[in-house]
Structure formats: structure tokens, C-alpha cells
């Protein structure tokens, strides 16, 4: 049994006052001075170069056409942190976004969770002038640490570095390169060959800071025939830009199940890039719930890189107030006999605007591809807006690819039916919305469902 007993370290460093892309080189040099590994530091410089060579994404780029940046001045944002966090022990608390319902059918509070219910718990606090990081990992074969520290065996860390290097080379817009150059910390999550991690790993991001840019980065390495479930939650407010990245390699026969719940404040700006490579006969299930953020732009790309790879992408979003939520998924079919599914369901109300842009790409030679993409939107009032752009690019013939998209209001028939059964209009609406999103949230871990439900119910109260 690997034992990295509960550990915590709080490191406070005076705020780094330089701003934006222009200060990247200084930031990276300072990190080197603070003792960052040379190789890792050199990769930061590579990414910085890519960030500097590009302008901010412009409206003539299809992916950014509906999410204009002109309202923001990203170059004036301050970096929060310029050191390297270390690892120390402490007792990690069970994050409060997790809830195991006492009775799932008749919600009556949460049952008590023990740290033994998890394979590991990570809490990261970003913002202000410090990075706090606590870790509690107790499963054999699962290693969690920071890029550059020694908590992950070197063979696994080398694989993570390869992913990082590859993604730097493939990063194709300024935000993505910026994150890869300036990440406050890079969390490594690795599972050894043939290890099935039964219990979920929890990653809890607590974010804060005014006029700061927070750069979170997670790199996951799953070796052959391993499996892992990740429950990730992001919360916090204060007026920051969160520019984060999620990269993973799921090796042959491995299984990665990742639930991300983003529930930051309505003032926050979120840009997020993810890229997951899924190899032969490996499986990925990534479920994303976007509940918070005033202006959110995300992209999750998956490569079905080996025969028989299987990818399920699910997304749930609820835009309210004046939120702007723009989500993109990419199913890259690069190998034969792979299958992928994407299901994104969204509700939009008030003045909010949601955009879903999905792509199924089938490369030449990726025969017997079976891919489906589905986007459903529920528009609750005039003034709200939902754009749906499910696209296909198919470069070979032996495929089964399709997509569907629907956008509608709550149907009068459904409301009438429920009213007939004695529900008030309000309850009926809430029930229908919950059921609509339930198709996605219901497939996520039971432990995060309650939180999602609570947020959704809070938003439908006055519909």
C-alpha cells in the first residue's frame, strides 16, 4: 500500500506584480530562480513562445465567432503566484460539494462520508498571493502529485511530461498556450498498469482573487488496463479569469471516468481547454456540468487514437442572468472501429446565451467509425438565446455518423399532464427541467448529483 499520508503545505509568496502575456518571460525566469526543474521550465518557455506568437482569438475564427473578447483586457490581469508548491501532510476535509443522499428517492440530507470512501482527495486553493495544496492519497497504484515533485514515480512522471510537451506543440490558441506556459501548478494524476482504482479521486478547486488570472492544469496518465474515476469541482468568486487545462492519456484497455462540476461565481470569466487521447480498446467517459461563470468558453477534444476506443462525452449547462456559455467538443476519430457519443443538454433563461459547437471528425482510414452527437436545448423565456452547431467532417466512407439537435420550450402538453396530476405549475416546470437535465446528471456520480440538482432547483424556483 502506497502511503503518502495526509499532507498539506501552505506557501505564501509575495504577489508577482507583472501583468499579462508580456510578463510571461519574467514569470518563467522567476520560477527557474525559485528552483523549478529546468526541463519543465524550458517547456514553459516553449508554450510562452506560442502564446506570444498568437493574438487573442478573433471573431473571424469560427470557434470564437460567437464569443467576442472585446469586452476584456486580459493583458491587464495579474499573475497570482510565481513559486512552486510543495507537499505536506494534513487531514483533508471532505469537500462540501459531495453528498451521498441518505435516501436518493426522498432527499433527506447527506449521509456522512469518510475519507475512506475515496481513493484520494486533493484540494487546491488558487488566488490571492498564495497557492494552497493538500493531498490525501491512499490507493495502491494511484499517484497524485505536482509536476516536478517526487510523489509520482519517474516513469509515470515522464509520461505526463510527454503529454505536456505534445499538448504544447498542439496548442492552437493563445489561451491554451498561455495556460501551458503560466500554470500556477500542474496536478499529476497517474494510475499504474492493471490497477483498478475502485473509489473516486476528488479534486476540489477553491478559487479567489480580484483581477487575477488563475491557471490550473491537470494531467492524467492511465497506464494499460487501469481504471480511475475523477470527481472534480471548481468554486469561488472574486473577479478572476480562470484559464485552465485538462490533458490525459488513456492507454490501451484503460478506463477513465471524469466528472467535472464548474460552479464558480457569476462574475468570473472561464476559459478551459482539454484534450484526451484514448487508445486501443480504452474507454473515456467525461461529463461536464457548467453551472457558473459569467462568461465561459470551453473546448474538450478527444482523440480516438486506437482501434476500438470508446468515448462518451456528456454535458449539462444552465445559463441564467446574463451568463454567456460557449462549449465545444471534438470527437476525433483517428483509428478504425472506434465509437463515440456526445450528449449535451442545456437550459437557458433570462438574458443568458448558450452556444454548443460540436464536431465529429473522421480521418481517412478510420473505417467502421460509429459516432453520434446530440445537442438539446430548452429555452425558458424570450430574451434567452441558445445556439446549436453540431458539425460533421467525414473523410472516409465506411462510417456511421449522425447528429441531432433540438431546441424548444417546455411543452404545454407536458405541463398540462402534470397539472392534471395535481402538481402546481411551478412544481411541474421544475420537475420537467430537472428531468430534462437528469438524463445527463443522472449518469454522473451519485456524489455530485445532489449539488447539481440543488443548483438547478435554485434556478428554476421563479421560472
Amino acid at each position: 500500500m502506497q502511503s503518502q499520508d495526509s499532507a498539506v503545505k501552505v506557501e505564501k509568496i509575495a504577489s508577482f506584480t507583472h501583468q499579462g502575456i508580456a510578463a510571461l518571460d519574467q514569470l518563467i525566469a522567476k520560477r527557474l530562480g525559485n528552483g523549478e526543474d529546468k526541463l519543465i521550465n524550458a517547456l514553459r518557455s516553449k508554450a510562452a513562445l506560442r502564446a506570444q506568437q498568437r493574438a487573442w482569438p478573433a471573431a473571424d475564427e469560427e470557434e470564437w465567432r460567437r464569443s467576442r473578447l472585446s469586452a476584456f483586457d486580459f493583458d491587464s490581469l495579474l499573475y497570482g503566484y510565481d513559486g512552486v508548491a510543495n507537499l505536506q501532510s494534513s487531514d483533508a476535509l471532505i469537500p462540501d460539494f459531495l453528498c451521498k443522499p441518505v435516501d436518493p428517492l426522498d432527499f433527506d440530507g447527506c449521509a456522512e462520508l469518510q475519507s475512506d470512501d475515496f481513493s484520494g482527495m486533493v484540494k487546491v486553493k488558487l488566488g490571492h498571493s498564495s497557492v494552497e495544496y493538500s493531498l490525501d492519497v491512499k490507493s495502491k497504484g494511484l499517484y497524485v502529485g505536482l509536476l516536478g515533485d517526487k510523489s509520482v514515480p519517474s516513469a509515470l512522471a515522464a509520461k505526463a511530461l510527454n503529454i505536456l510537451e505534445d499538448m504544447i506543440a498542439r496548442s492552437d490558441n493563445r489561451f491554451q498556450s498561455w495556460n501551458l506556459a503560466a500554470y500556477d501548478l500542474a496536478l499529476l494524476v497517474c494510475v499504474e498498469k492493471n490497477q483498478t482504482i475502485e473509489k473516486p479521486l476528488v479534486i476540489d478547486w477553491q478559487l479567489s482573487g480580484e483581477d487575477k488570472v488563475l491557471h490550473g492544469l491537470v494531467i492524467v496518465v492511465l497506464e494499460e488496463s487501469s481504471s480511475l474515476t475523477v470527481l472534480e469541482h471548481q468554486s469561488g468568486s472574486g473577479g478572476f479569469l480562470l484559464n485552465d487545462g485538462r490533458y490525459a492519456n488513456v492507454a490501451a484497455n484503460a478506463q477513465l471516468n471524469w466528472n467535472l462540476v464548474r460552479n464558480v461565481g457569476d462574475e468570473e470569466v472561464v476559459v478551459s481547454h482539454g484534450h484526451i487521447v484514448v487508445e486501443r480498446d480504452a474507454r473515456l467517459k467525461f461529463a461536464q456540468s457548467e453551472l457558473g461563470g459569467g462568461w465561459v468558453k470551453t473546448r474538450l477534444a478527444t482523440d480516438l487514437a486506437g482501434e476500438g476506443a470508446d468515448v462518451h462525452l456528456e454535458g449539462l449547462y444552465f445559463g441564467h442572468g446574463s451568463q454567456h456559455v460557449d462549449l465545444r467538443t471534438v470527437q476525433n476519430h483517428l483509428a478504425p472501429r472506434a465509437s463515440s457519443r456526445a450528449l449535451y443538454k442545456g437550459v437557458v433563461r433570462d438574458e443568458a446565451r448558450t452556444i454548443y459547437q460540436g464536431l465529429i471528425f473522421v480521418a481517412p482510414g478510420a473505417n467502421k467509425t460509429d459516432a453520434y452527437l446530440n445537442n438539446r436545448n430548452l429555452v425558458l423565456n424570450d430574451g434567452a438565446r441558445a445556439d446549436s452547431i453540431p458539425t460533421l467532417e467525414i473523410r472516409t466512407d465506411d462510417v456511421k455518423c449522425s447528429h441531432g439537435s433540438t431546441t424548444s420550450k417546455l411543452l404545454d402538453e407536458h405541463l398540462f399532464y402534470l397539472q392534471n396530476r395535481g402538481f402546481s405549475v411551478k412544481d411541474a416546470k421544475a420537475m420537467l427541467i430537472e428531468a430534462f437535465l437528469g438524463q445527463v446528471s443522472g449518469s454522473m456520480s451519485e456524489l455530485v448529483q445532489t449539488k447539481i440538482q440543488a443548483v438547478v432547483l435554485g434556478r428554476v424556483e421563479d421560472v
Binding site: 446549436s388 452547431i389 466512407d397 455518423c401 439537435s405 431546441t407
Partner: protein, 490 residues
Amino acid sequence: MKKQWFSTNRIQNAADSGTVASTLGAEEALKQQEDYKFGFAFPDASVFKTGKGINESVVKSISSHKNEPDWMLAYRLKSLEAFREKSMPNWGGDLSGIDFENIYYYAKPTQDAKTKWEELPADILETYRRLGLPEAEQKFLAGVGAQYDSEMVYHSIRKDLEDKGVIFTSPEEAVLKYPDLVKQYFGTVIPFNDNKFAALNSAAWSGGSFVYVPKGVKVDIPIQAYFRINSENFGQFERTLIIADEDSFVHYVEGCTAPIYSSDSLHSAVVEIIALKGSRVRYSTIQNWSNDVYNLVTKRAVAYEGATVEWVDGNLGSKRTMKYPAIYLKGKGSHGEVLSIAFASGGQEQDTGAKIVHLADDTSSVVTAKSISRSGGISSYRGLVKVNPGLKNVRAHVVCDALILDPQSTSNTYPYMEIHATDVSIEHEARVSRISEEQLFYLQTRGLDETEASMMIVNGFLDPLVKQLPMEYAMELNRLIELEMEGSVG
């Protein structure tokens, strides 16, 4: 059975069309195959031709050759300005091969528009003969406006239509004879500065059709016009304006075939339809440009209260086609439909689709798009469904089906749905697949060889759209597709 598809007798008598061609001997079929694709170009005998490239003096000379009033010249000149200012689209097909300086913008083939076939120059007549136009006319066609190069050279309209007050003429004549109608509607659906190619057309337009159907008049047989490009490096900028007055009905049919040339040609048409209250307009096109033509067309219709507009759009041939027939549903209860077929062979890119903008309550739209890609061809569906804020009871349904016939080909689908209203029902679905082996196997067990079976499946795939065309066009489309399928064209 296959030989039937070699026939160039484009429009047969509806009754015997299925059998005549099948009696052709092998030699004759081969000869016709060589002939086919209307790849016969006659020596260029145009009477007047501007120099290559476009500038103020070219636009002025086009205008003066047409004896246009000043307001139209002014319109052309401000369009030219817009053309220069507008940038090329940064999406869709690759248009880098277009050299605007290397194109003739105007050629006038004969001095005056003729009214009888016999008076047409022999080479023009010969081309038409091969296309089967006289037969077409014999077949109860409401009127034939045939375009050879830029000018309407032949014109006929059935007497009874004239009596009903239906106007079917060239836009040039309309400018001179019906200036009020033209001023009222010309450029109102597609502004001169809508996009780079619409601006180019607005500056250099020549030929096309002008149709006005008065209140309450139902034109019960299709009105037809043929468009032909004949001069090498010659861009064709025809301009069509259809005005259907209240409670009228008209079906306009346009077919395009162009001869084969070695260097690139540009076709950039503008088609505007105004469907006033309670009217219905159907516009059917089959385009089979030769494989060096850039076909960049702006087509847009406005439907007022209770009106219906239908685009039936078949795209074969050309090097790049970018064409997205649009319907603006402006009036309460209006309805729009787009039926689109694209067939992309080697070296071709069919970037087609539909654009539906819901601007009023109780509007509905249906888009059905089918595409086939083969031999490395690229077909893309690009469509928009937009619903403006606050609208009630809006329905839109979009279905895209694509067949890919070999591993080298590409099929793309880019649907955009921008929904700003709540009382809506928007559905979109798309499927991409190849011909299923089960279907092939089934037909082969019934005694068809693989090629015949594939053709039958492709025909079946397109059938829902082909059925919407008038008989002779359905025949032609079927033949063109069979030819494409056999690889005898391409």
C-alpha cells in the same frame, strides 16, 4: 439498361423518354458519350465583349450597351465600390483560384433579342438543339428565356400568360419597360453590398429573368430559362428577380449546363424572390456547370404574410459551388422549404445548404438536404436556422443525409442554429453513411450487378427530391447522376 443514360436528348417526350434511349446502338452511345456533358464549344462569335477585368469603364460600357437609365448605372457603380471593399469569404470552399482580372465581365452575343428560334445564329441554335430546348418548348412550357452568354437572346411567353398580365422578360428590358417595378424591388432582398459576389453581380449583372405575376394569378405550368456559359474565361452574372403579387403562384425553373474549358470561369448570379401576401413561389434549379466553373450564387427570398417559398436546388458539376438559398420569413404564417441535392465528384467541392430566418410568428420551415461524394469529391452542407427574439409558434425542421461512395471522398455538415425565442420547435438531424452492404447484397440477389445496384440505391436516396421536379428535369437529373456514377463524366 445503362445505355439509356448516355443519351444527350435531354428532354424527351415524357411518355417515351424511358425507352427511346435504350434502343441506341453501342457505337452511337459511345459517340454520344464523347459528346456528352455539353462539352461542345463553338467558336466565339460574340458581337461585343468588354476587356478582361472590371473597373468603372467596363461597368459604364456594360450599362451604355444596355441603354440603361442613370439610376441603374449609379447602382452598378456603387456596387463596384462595395465589391472592392468587401473581402473574400474566409470560410467554405477554396476560392484562391479566382483571378478577377482575368475574366470577361460582359459579352453580347447577338445584336437583339430574337423571338423565333429560326432567327438565332446557327451555332447558338445548334447548342440549344443539343440541349433539347425546342422540344422543351413544345412541351407546354409557359415561356422560354434562353441565356447564351450574357444576354437574353430568345424569349417567348405564352399568349395567355401575357393576357393575364404576367411579365416574363430579361431584367434589361424590365429596367427600360417597367422601371417602377424594378426600382421598387431590385436589390431589396439582396442589397448591393450583401457580400463580395453579390456586389460583383450588382456591378456587372447581365441577363437573367424578370418575372412579375399579378395579384391572384396562378401560373399553372412552370416558367423556364436556360443559362449557358460559352465564352472561355467569361463570368456570367445573371440577375433574376421574381415578384409574386398577392395570392399568386408561379413555378420558375432554371437549368444550367456549361461547356468544358481548360481555364476557370466564374458564375456569380443573384436571384431575388419577393413572395407577397398569400402567394407561393417555387424555384427549381439544376446546375451542371463544367468542372472548371466557380459557381458562387446568392439566392434569397422574402415571404410575406401567409406566403410560401420553395427552393429546389440540384448541384452537379462545377469546380466549387457555394450556394445557400435563403428564405426570410417576414410575414405571419409564412412557410419556407429548401430541397437541396449536391453531387461532388473528383476535384469538386459542393458547399451548399440553406438559410432560413424566422422573422414573424407562426412561421415554419423545412430543409431537406442530400449529398453524395465520390472520387475524392467534397460535399458540405452549411445551413442556418435563425429565430428572432420574441417570436411565437415557430417550427423548423432540418434533415441532412449524406452518402459517401468511396474512402477518398469527404462529407461535411455545418448546421448553425441560432435560437433567440422560446416558443419554438427546432429540430435538426444529419446522417452520413455509405451504401450499406445489406442493400447492395439484397439487390444483387435480385440479379443486378453491383454498379446497377449502387445506381438504384443512389436514385432511391435522391428520390424524395427528384419527385419535386417537373418531369423533364427529373429525367435530366437522373441521367446526369447516372453519368456521374459511371465515371463517364468527371
